[in-house]
Symmetry: C2
Subunit: 347 residues, 2 copies
């Protein structure tokens, strides 16, 4: 986590400071109001006076865990404060009702991977009422099971390729000449011979002859391999964008966050950056996008047959309910991993 890589030497706080900090964060998450010393004194089991709490708070503020909106208001957690809170969260589990809901979902869900991912995104939103993100992809190692070249008309053809993970790709192939059905059928045969068992990054020996069939084959292979860089097939499904309007109050903030969510590529990068850092939560500025400074993103990786294959994520305000969100993301990602690895029957 960030703790290892980003903040090299993270100080620990003594028990009392930690308790106070956690109380402030918890209450602020709950109420969205600056938290005062007296309510902290009341709620913690510390049995100290507000005055003592205040003097500790001064320290915590100096060390960057807390902030004051203005002199003589209560304290509000900083990103660093949230970070401490999250890192010291004993990971909770989710309610039995939600357990049930998730189990039900995964026993009933059927259909294409994409649909499953999309539905999963909706599930996460229902579970947490935060905006959810499901990134799927990374089947780079899938191999070709079958390819087929199909005539659309004399000069337009469609290359359909089936991969071992069930993905189907299609590519338009044009020819400058009118190709006969026989040409196409023969090209199709050759393509199969050439490509079956290869993955997209395998170099294959294409015929160099100049007849129609060879040209078709070359074109088709070129088209297919042109896909390689993007084939990762990263797909994003975003659910519950309307929750953004609930999570943030400034219309302007809502707009900014929505604008980010619209850029799907950016969302993928965001989620993967977080995972690459070994994090499971990115808080405020940690996520690296200024418009998302008031957001926290919870992520959990998914894998297929042991290979990383995407992630699920939840986006909410920095004062999000971390325990619930993290638990939901974790449990769903585990189910999804199992589901995609084929432990369930698919339609």
């Amino acid at each position: 986590m960030v703790r290892h890589s980003v903040t090299p030497s993270r100080e620990e706080l003594d028990h009392r400071k930690a308790t106070i900090l956690e109380a402030v964060v918890a209450e602020y998450i709950d109420t969205a109001q600056p938290v005062g010393s007296s309510s902290v004194a009341a709620v913690t089991g510390l049995d100290v006076s507000p005055a003592t709490v205040r003097s500790e708070m001064v320290t915590l503020e100096r060390e960057g865990y807390l902030a004051q909106p203005h002199t003589s208001a209560g304290r509000v957690p900083t990103d660093k404060g949230y970070r401490y809170f999250v890192d010291h969260l004993r990971s909770g589990s989710i309610g039995p009702g939600q357990q049930q809901q998730i189990r039900e979902f995964f026993t009933n869900v059927r259909g294409e991977v994409q649909e499953v991912l999309e539905q999963t995104s909706n599930l996460l939103t229902r579970l947490t009422s935060y905006t959810s993100v499901v990134v799927g992809g990374g089947h780079t190692h899938a191999t070709v099971l079958n390819v087929q070249l199909v005539n659309l008309d004399a000069r337009h053809h469609l290359l359909v390729s089936v991969f071992s993970d069930g993905t189907v790709l299609k590519h338009n192939v044009r020819s400058d000449f009118a190709a006969t059905h026989v040409d196409v059928a023969e090209a199709s045969r050759q393509l199969n011979a050439l490509l079956i068992g290869t993955s997209l990054d395998t170099r294959v020996q294409v015929p160099s002859r100049h007849d129609h069939v060879a040209t078709l084959v070359r074109e088709a292979v070129a088209e297919l391999h042109a896909e390689a860089p993007t084939f990762d097939g990263e797909q994003v499904f975003i659910g519950g964008s309307s929750k953004v309007a609930e999570s943030f109050d400034g219309v302007e903030t809502v707009r900014k966050v929505l604008a980010i969510l619209e850029q799907q590529l950016l969302v993928v990068t965001l989620v993967e950056d977080i995972l690459d850092q070994g994090l499971s939560v990115a808080i405020g500025s940690e996520n690296g996008y200024e418009p998302l400074a008031s957001c926290a993103v919870v992520v959990a990786p998914i894998s297929v047959d042991g290979e990383p294959a995407g992630a699920v994520g939840l986006l909410g305000p920095t004062r999000m309910k971390y325990r619930e969100a993290m638990a939901a993301a974790r449990v769903v990602s585990e189910h999804l991993t199992r589901h995609l690895s084929g432990e369930d029957e698919r339609d």
Copy 2:
């Protein structure tokens, strides 16, 4: 639309009333402020005093075209007022810059139909800064060009079908028995013989034998035809949802509208309802969804080879810039129609 069915006899307004109404609507769209009699008197070429305008306004209000937020504020258009305005809009055209932008877009865009539609949605948003909707689908009459059954493992197979419009569908086919490659290849052959040239609603004669191959064929055909009802393949692409946050001020309104946009099926229905009524704009309550009461939706149909094939739409506040929005929707839909009908070269 609504005019034909809902408001059977739509009265015309005399010239002066019409001018005043239009001035009010135009200014309100521009400023979002209630419009007073004097500014109307100043801006119209009518050469009448504010007092006269006022007395006309009283009539317009009684007839339901205008409303007052409160006594002694200016007037604000009602849905009916906007409706009159829109119905009497001499349809404008779009700026040369935008023309250019659209032309450029359509000469450069390439790739799958879906991607084109998605990109088009983004284009519309860029052009108008309203949320845009592109509904594609309705290739019900496409016929099968080629099908292919592929082994995933002994009991899981993938049926890949290519249609005359370039669509590719895939379906999982399970067998209770371990199918050999030979079985699958033979089933594949038979499926081709059976299905090529048929459309999804064509009944085909499936073999009734009980051997492995026949069972596979039956399963595959069943799977494929199960798709028929939904095959319409209605797809929605929504662009610029962040614009919602700009168009409306109440956070609550923003939330409601976003929530509607999340339900893609609902969006499709909405757009199609409007088209079915022969409308090109639905204003406020006309669209039939209470949460969209403060929205206007501009639509324009698209077709492929003469067949209706979806629509483009723009969603904004009732005080949207109708002329621009309608022009943009119309022009883009025309381009898209031409593009999808194959008048341009595709990659």
